[in-house]
Each structure stands twice: as structure tokens, then as C-alpha cells.
Amino acid sequence: MISISHLSVAYGAIVALDDVSIEAPTGAITAVLGANGAGKTTLLRTISGLVKPRSGSITANGHALIGERPDTIARLGIAHVPEGRGVIAEFTVEENLRLGALGAKTNVTAGLEEQYTLFPVLKERRKQYAAQLSGGERQMLALGRAMIANPQILLLDEPSLGLAPLVTQDIMNTIKTLCANSGLTVILVEQNAKSALKISDYAAVLHVGKSIAVRPAAEVAADESLRSYYLGMAE
């Protein structure tokens, strides 16, 4: 359970988030939709401590997150897969995974074993540099690196960015499976609303820094009036 209330963020004079309140229930996928520049990425960066908000509060599993350093937040069990996946290109696949385990102080050997079973393609390529992976494989690596930390909350920023539709579908299904198997709480930020809504339980829509609604995903998908706020770009 992660709850964001009355969150406002500004970069100098530019307001990125304005009094946003969102609740993401435990064990469910909550999609955050919105057009480019709606503040989706800022929202995730604020949760993981990379951006200091002007006001508001964020609590995750009973911990107040505001004011904590990003690495502390990560060690509280909150994994953030940033936009562009954030894999370190100069590292091999295995080094990327090990880094995830080292940061979270979890068992490296067991974690690697687990992720290699989940993502067999990573095992195949474990000695290759991340730079040499395809887009889909990089996303797998980013997910695997996040999961090796045994997180309770997973923040995903545009996992479908730059991927072919089939690969996107594959990734989305993987996310759904991960969530179902481990009781993970997921906040999924997406421009590709259609794919996101397919696997999400709840959805919130951001429009120029304001949250419009947090409702079950199916409802949002059905609400014609909301569509204009998040469609048009990705479809």
C-alpha cells in the first residue's frame, strides 16, 4: 500500500505536480496515465526520493518517504525502474543483476538463480554487455535487476517505450505474472494506455500536474470523457 496525498512539486517556477493524491493498494497494479509532460515521471521520481516535493506526503507500508535519501527508500523495498530502463550499458548482464542484489543487500547467488529462471534469456546473455542487448532484453534486465532486490513496491516508468507492440505485450504479461506471483504493489506509468489498462487493476489519470481520478482500470478504460487526457499520443 502506497499513498500519496496532496503532493506538489515544482522546478523553479514550473509546477510539475499540483496537489496530487493517489492510493495504490497492496498487491495490485495501479496505472498512472497521462499525456507527455503531465508529470508522470516526476511522480515516480518524487516517490523514490530523487525529487524533493514542495508539499504533501507519501507513505509506503507505514514509512513516511518524504525527506529520505533515494538509496534509503530503495532499501525500504521500493524498486524504481526508470524511464529508458536505467541499465548500465558498460556493465555485463550479470554485473547489472549483481548490482541490484548488492544495493538491496540480498543474497547474490540465490537472487541470480531466481532471476535466471524467471528470465532465461538473461542467463543466455549473462556475459554480454548490456549495450549489446535488444530493447526488450534490456527491459527484462531492468525488471530482473529490480526483482532481485525482493521489493514490495515496484515503480515502472514507461516500460513499453521504444518497444515493438509484440514485445510490449510480452513485457506487460511478465509484469502481470510477477505481480500475481509475489503480491507486489505496482505503480505503472505509461503513455501506452491501452496496454497498461489491460493489465492494471486501478488507474489514475494525470493532466498537467493534477490528478483527475483513481478508479478501477476497467472503469477508466470505459470512461469516454477521460480518454482525451491520455489518448492521442500512444495509439
Binding site: P70, A74, V87
Partner: protein, 299 residues
């Protein structure tokens, strides 16, 4: 046969040049370590190393043995460099590129002035535990002395230690990650700030080794002893590519050897400029340096 090789003029030049070159390479290595960790060009590398070398080596005046004095230099080098990062470099991350450069120029001026106030400009000559008389082969001198062998050995040992640390240990993995992708590393729960400080500390310790090794040369221990080495070391680091520790050491040795060959076979007046010419040529052809891999840009 072997004796002929050992006392051959070119072989001697290469050996003597290598002994000079590893020192240039060590200074270059410090610069690379700091640059990789924090994207700061440490202009005060030379004076910082000089300062901690003084602190350690002057203990020999109080009857400390050479190895104890050297160990003190290295330990103080680590602490001093780490503290420098915490106190004056940290506030400048994410600021304009020139800011940390200028701060380190300030540090340069300050440390040399303080050293000269405390220890004066008169050089000191720490007694080396090795002789500087070259090994002989059938009555002829070879290009190496026990001292220069120790200097080359120390440089290679440090290089190996650094390579093992960075490439084969978990700490090394975290250090590299913090340097390459600080934000991602933070998101993975890594205490990046602490690791950057550690990176500076390691560079400081390597710098102290360079300082100790240099202080055994005829120039001895003096406030300005690393100024020229800094310039040559910087050139070596730029030629090798500021991201490549191996490149730093290799280009350091190449510069040392080429200078020595020019001294012997051409004219020593040209040797001073060879490093500059090499730098200009390399930067014109490969602005990122020779050893930096182009393919592995961050994505």
C-alpha cells in the same frame, strides 16, 4: 648474449624511461580514478600527494622506518583525499564544470604555500631502503637499479590492486556503478555519496604511493615536486582517455620511454615538448583518448 641485451643502449633507455614513465602513469591513474568517480579533474592531485608524502616521510626524522613512514603517507593520503571530497568537492557536484576545477586550483595554491611555510622549499631526501646504483652485468651498468625496480614494481602492484578491486570485487562493482550511473545506483539502494568519497580516498592513497616513490628520486621531497609530474600525468591521462586506468599507466610509460629515446638519440631540447605534441596529435585524431571505448556509451 643476455649480458649484451641487458647493457644495450636501447634496452637501457627503455628501462630508464619506464622507471620515469610509471611515475607519470601513477599520477595519471589518480586523475583517472577521480575523474571516473566524480567527473572532476583534480588539479590539486600533485600538491595533495606532495602534502601527505611530507606528513608520512618526515616521520623518518623521528626515527620511523621507511615502510612505516610510507604506510603513514598512504593512510593519510586516503583520509585527506576523502575529507577533501566531503568538505569542498561535494557542494559542487551538478554545478558548472569550471567550479570544481577552480576549487582544486585553489587547493593547489593553498597546499603548496602551506607546505613551503611548514617544511620550507629546501628539498629533503628520505633515505631509500634500496640502492640507486644500477645493477651491473659483466662490469657494465644495466638500465635498472634496485630503486627503480622497486619504483616500477610498486606502480605495477598498485595498478594490479586497483584493477582487482574495480573488476573483481563487489565493492568495485558498486564503485564503478556509482561513477557511471549515480542516479540509477541510488535507485538500486547504493549509497552513492559514500562510494564517491571512497573513490577519492582510493585516488588519494594511490597519489601518496606516487609521492613516496618520487621522493626517493634525486629531486627529493619538495613542495613543488609533483608539478611537472602533474602536467605530464595529465597529458598521459588525456592520451589514454580519462576513463581508462590501464590507458593512464600505459601512456605514462610510453611518454617516459619516448622522452628517454629522444634524449639519447636526438636532442633533449625536443624531449620536453614530445608529450605536448603527442597530446595534440592524439586529441586531434581521437578526442576521447586512445583507450576509451566508443561503443559503450551510456544508453
Amino acid at each position: 648474449m643476455i649480458a649484451n641485451i641487458l647493457t644495450n643502449r636501447i634496452v637501457n633507455d627503455i628501462a630508464g624511461g619506464t622507471a620515469q614513465g610509471v611515475i607519470i602513469g601513477l599520477v595519471a591513474l589518480c586523475l583517472v580514478l577521480v575523474w571516473r568517480a566524480t567527473r572532476v579533474l583534480n588539479f590539486a592531485q600533485g600538491p595533495m600527494a606532495m602534502f601527505v608524502t611530507y606528513i608520512g616521510m618526515t616521520q623518518m626524522d623521528h626515527h620511523a622506518n621507511f615502510w612505516v613512514a610510507a604506510a603513514i603517507s598512504v593512510a593519510v593520503g586516503f583520509i585527506f583525499s576523502a575529507l577533501t571530497e566531503i568538505v569542498i568537492v561535494k557542494p559542487l557536484y551538478h554545478k558548472a564544470e569550471i567550479n570544481p576545477i577552480v576549487v582544486m586550483v585553489g587547493m593547489f595554491t593553498l597546499l603548496e604555500a602551506v607546505a613551503s611555510a611548514v617544511w620550507t622549499n629546501i628539498p629533503r631526501y628520505p633515505t631509500a631502503p634500496f640502492s640507486s646504483i644500477n645493477f651491473q652485468s659483466e662490469g657494465n651498468p644495466t638500465g635498472l637499479s634496485p630503486l627503480s625496480t622497486f619504483q616500477i614494481g610498486a606502480a605495477l602492484a598498485i595498478m594490479t590492486l586497483v584493477a582487482i578491486l574495480f573488476n573483481y570485487t563487489s565493492l568495485g562493482l558498486k564503485l564503478r556503478a556509482s561513477a557511471l550511473a549515480p542516479e540509477v545506483s541510488k535507485l538500486l539502494g547504493i549509497r552513492v555519496g559514500r562510494l564517491l568519497t571512497l573513490g577519492w580516498g582510493i585516488a588519494g592513497a594511490v597519489g601518496a604511493v606516487a609521492g613516496v616513490v618520487i621522493s626517493l628520486n634525486p629531486g627529493g621531497l619538495a613542495p613543488n615536486m609533483l608539478d611537472a609530474m602533474f602536467i605530464l600525468g595529465f597529458i598521459a591521462a588525456a592520451i589514454g582517455g580519462l576513463d581508462s586506468p590501464l590507458g593512464a599507466l600505459v601512456s605514462g610509460i610510453v611518454i617516459g620511454v619516448v622522452m628517454q629515446l629522444i634524449n639519447d638519440y636526438w636532442n633533449s631540447n625536443y624531449a620536453d615538448m614530445v608529450a605536448v605534441v603527442l597530446l595534440v596529435v592524439v586529441l586531434m585524431l581521437r578526442p576521447q583518448g586512445i583507450f576509451t571505448k566508443n561503443s559503450t556509451r551510456r544508453v
